[in-house]
């Protein structure tokens, strides 16, 4: 679609505009645009400039450290890494998901629903709601959660409380809100006490009500801005994620399903332990992030999107009633089999938020979460694969160990990596459709960030949450001279320095 904008010809004759860092996302990335003399965009790229190296430095460590070690990849969704690693090391002690004690399985699901709930609430209310409520090109003072608190205090409080509740679920199950323990090889290290369960139960109906209201809000925002919301940063893509055996939405454990842009099934119910037979990763020189693709469709056409949009698109139904009503409405709004609108990520995310709240209530009322039958053990194996639907999409952990229980090989495909190609495509779409040929201004450039933000990429960093991340834009002419510069300080103040 916009692949022609990935690499420009005759780069030496083009002006370079850099958006660095991309703000209100988790982590550090930058966008570069190359423009010709008429400000027409010739190249647009999202670069991920962080390098973490986890795959290398967990080699040589004992496998039982993995769930606790790899969760340090992230402060926003550590539970996802904790559980994906736990599912992999279950296999190293000979336990397949069907053999995991029922209580351990349900406690892990409860932990995971708490995690997805808090992450989705964080992303929508803290990071994205300023764009959606005040407009993408609103004045910069409006583009933060602080402005949301001032203009919509009740809504802001609901967002904070939704996130807090998810973190309390995590704390009850894993001992800490961030970076707890919980999952151990073959099970869990504790169940819930009755007091802990009752503590969570007392607020769950309020949480469900607020979740319902948040879906109504995004539906209203999306509907009020049609067809702009359906077109902005929108790309037709394949979608990949886990589903239950009956095709229902699944976040913790299921088979891999991929559909193409027309909604036709590419693969279905694939055992994720065999992911290597279906998914490969391509390396490109200009970014630290790899480009995964479906092997059967090739590098060119095999890239896919993951995350809430993919999951709600891919599943046949959602097994909690309120979220299912919203899924039906979501699908009905599009004329196509799949909803391709990139901004519909927000809508799908909040449907999942509601699903999590409903699922937490179901699990809290299940006596199994109080059981002490928590750990199972089988015959040692030398390889394990754990896959989970993290808030941002399908997350793969793959480990090999030696006879001494030491990790010899690790491969992680994190959700944001799967969305790499799609985010680049969306950036190019916005650059081509909304920026090309115009004089670039800071509010205009926020459109690029809005497109990236819709994917909720986890480039990992939390300092962006108040929307005052330092930002520097430089406009460099074809001779490499700086001709324009916008600097946003950490206090949100903007300076513009014009150069002759």
């Amino acid at each position: 679609m916009y692949e022609h904008l990935e690499t420009a010809d005759n780069k030496e004759n083009l002006k370079r505009v850099i958006v660095e860092p991309v703000s209100r996302v988790e982590g550090h990335g930058k966008v570069t645009l190359l423009l010709d003399e008429d400000n027409k965009v010739k190249q647009a790229r999202l670069h991920i400039v962080e390098f973490r190296g986890f795959e290398r430095f967990i080699q040589g460590r004992p496998y039982w450290e993995l769930p606790v070690l790899v969760q340090r990849l992230c402060g926003i969704c550590p539970v996802s890494h904790h559980l994906a690693a736990a599912k992999a090391i279950d296999q190293l002690v000979g336990i397949d998901p069907v053999n995991l004690p029922v209580a351990a399985d349900k406690l892990r699901r409860l932990l995971h629903f708490g995690q997805v709930l808090q992450s989705h609430a964080l992303h929508f209310f803290h990071l994205s709601s300023p764009d959606l409520l005040f407009g993408f090109e609103s004045e910069i003072s409006k583009r933060s959660i602080i402005a949301v608190i001032e203009a919509y205090p009740d809504l802001a409080v609901q967002g904070v409380m939704l996130r807090k509740y998810g973190q309390e679920v995590i704390r009850m199950v894993s001992g800490k809100r961030v970076h707890g323990t919980g999952a151990i090889p073959g099970g869990m290290n504790k169940s819930l006490t009755k007091d802990e369960r009752d503590y969570l139960l007392k607020d769950i109906d309020q949480i469900i009500n607020w979740s319902v209201a948040s879906v109504a809000l995004i539906k209203k925002v999306h509907g009020a801005n049609l067809p702009y919301y359906d077109d902005f940063a929108t790309i037709r893509s394949n979608y990949l994620g886990l589903t239950k055996p009956d095709g229902a939405l699944e976040l913790y454990h299921g088979g891999i399903r991929a559909k193409n842009a027309d909604g036709d099934t590419i693969i279905d119910h694939v055992d994720y332990c065999k992911y290597n037979d279906y998914i490969h990763e391509e390396v490109r020189s200009w970014t630290y992030m790899k480009f995964p693709y479906l092997l059967s469709m090739g590098q060119e056409n095999g890239w896919y999107r993951v995350g809430p949009l993919a999951r709600v698109n891919n599943c046949d139904y959602i097994d909690t009633p309120l979220a299912e009503i919203e899924r039906i409405a979501f699908k009905a709004h599009s004329n196509e089999a799949m909803v391709h609108s990139t901004l519909a990520f927000h809508w799908a995310r909040l449907i999942e938020l509601l699903h999590c709240a409903e699922s937490i209530k179901t699990l809290l009322n299940d006596p199994d979460i109080l059981s002490q039958d928590l750990v199972a053990k089988g015959e040692k194996r030398y390889e394990g694969v754990g896959v989970i639907e993290a808030p941002r999409g399908t997350l793969f952990h793959h480990y090999q160990v030696d006879e001494n229980d030491i990790v010899t090989k690790a491969n992680l495909i994190v959700s944001t990596t799967s969305n790499n190609m799609a985010m680049n495509e969306s950036v190019r779409q916005v650059a081509a459709e909304y920026l090309s040929g115009q004089e670039l201004t800071e509010p205009l450039l926020n459109n690029l960030e809005v497109a990236i933000r819709a994917y909720d990429p986890c480039l990992s960093c939390a300092t962006h949450a108040i929307g005052k991340m330092p930002l520097q834009l430089e406009l460099i002419n074809a001779k490499g001279e700086l001709i324009d510069k916008l600097v946003k300080g950490s206090d949100g103040h903007i300076d513009r320095n014009l150069y002759a």
């Binding site: 460590r61 001992g175 323990t181 290290n189 504790k190």
Partner: protein, 239 residues
């Protein structure tokens, strides 16, 4: 009438042959320490228990209690020195508390909290240290060894074996095991041995038991090391 020493102005009774550490512990006075253990002969190597006895620095774990001693223990300058010693232990090894399975049960971490250690202060050595995971039930992570010799003493004095020793000097000091291959699997250690359970840090671990104790139930989740230490070591002294 019992003989007494003075520690920080308190009159502390002692029995003939007791060290200052033993007398203090029996009287409920905590002196920070890592290499001392009431069941084993004192070693005096970690220097955390340094106190001032009649104006001179001494290791409380090795120095005999004697009538008329004026001991200063809980003083600002001594605690500042203890904090520096603890920081040096941290930077000399590779101690990554966030993912270490001993976290919450680790004496080094607990004593650091007790001494209000807020950073490493010194540059990290980033030493390359190996793991020995060869034994079916036990693991040595040399990254976390602080050379307290408790495993050496426990193996010798309690288990009647000679599994561990310290070799080398200065920066080249390291823990070795008693086998031709140099691997733990070829020694006569057993997971039931005292030496397998005595390590104050996460250097010698029982395999397949990590993180089984949930957060909230670990040794130092609710009590600081001074209280934990007094509770357990007073009992040991009474044996």
């Amino acid at each position: 009438m019992a003989k007494t020493i003075m520690i920080d102005g308190l009159s502390i009774p002692f029995e003939e042959g007791q060290t200052i550490m033993q007398a203090a512990t029996d009287a409920g006075v905590y002196i920070p320490h890592l290499c001392h253990h009431p069941e084993f002969s004192p070693h005096g190597s970690c220097k955390l228990c340094t106190v001032k006895v009649n104006g001179r620095n001494c290791s409380a774990c090795t120095f005999p209690a004697m009538e008329g001693q004026e001991v200063i223990n809980n003083a600002k300058d001594l605690n500042a020195d203890r904090q520096k010693i603890t920081q040096m232990l941290f930077v000399e090894g590779n101690h990554f508390c966030p993912s270490c399975e001993k976290t919450g049960n680790c004496q080094l971490q607990a004593v650091a909290y007790h001494l209000n250690m807020l950073d490493d202060h010194f540059p990290l050595f980033y030493q390359h240290r190996e793991m020995d995971a060869s034994h079916a039930d036990l693991l040595i992570d040399h990254n976390r060894c602080i050379f307290c010799t408790l495993c050496v003493r426990a193996s010798h004095e309690h288990d009647g074996k000679e599994v561990f020793a310290i070799s080398g000097r200065g920066i080249n000091k390291h823990l070795i095991v008693n086998s031709e291959s140099g691997l733990l699997k070829d020694t006569n250690i057993s997971a039931m041995d005292k030496a397998a359970h005595i390590c104050p840090t996460g250097a010698i671990l029982i395999k397949h038991t990590a993180y089984q104790v949930p957060i909230g139930e670990r040794i130092y989740d609710h009590q600081q090391i001074d209280q934990v230490s007094l509770n357990s070591e007073q009992v040991d002294h009474d044996k």
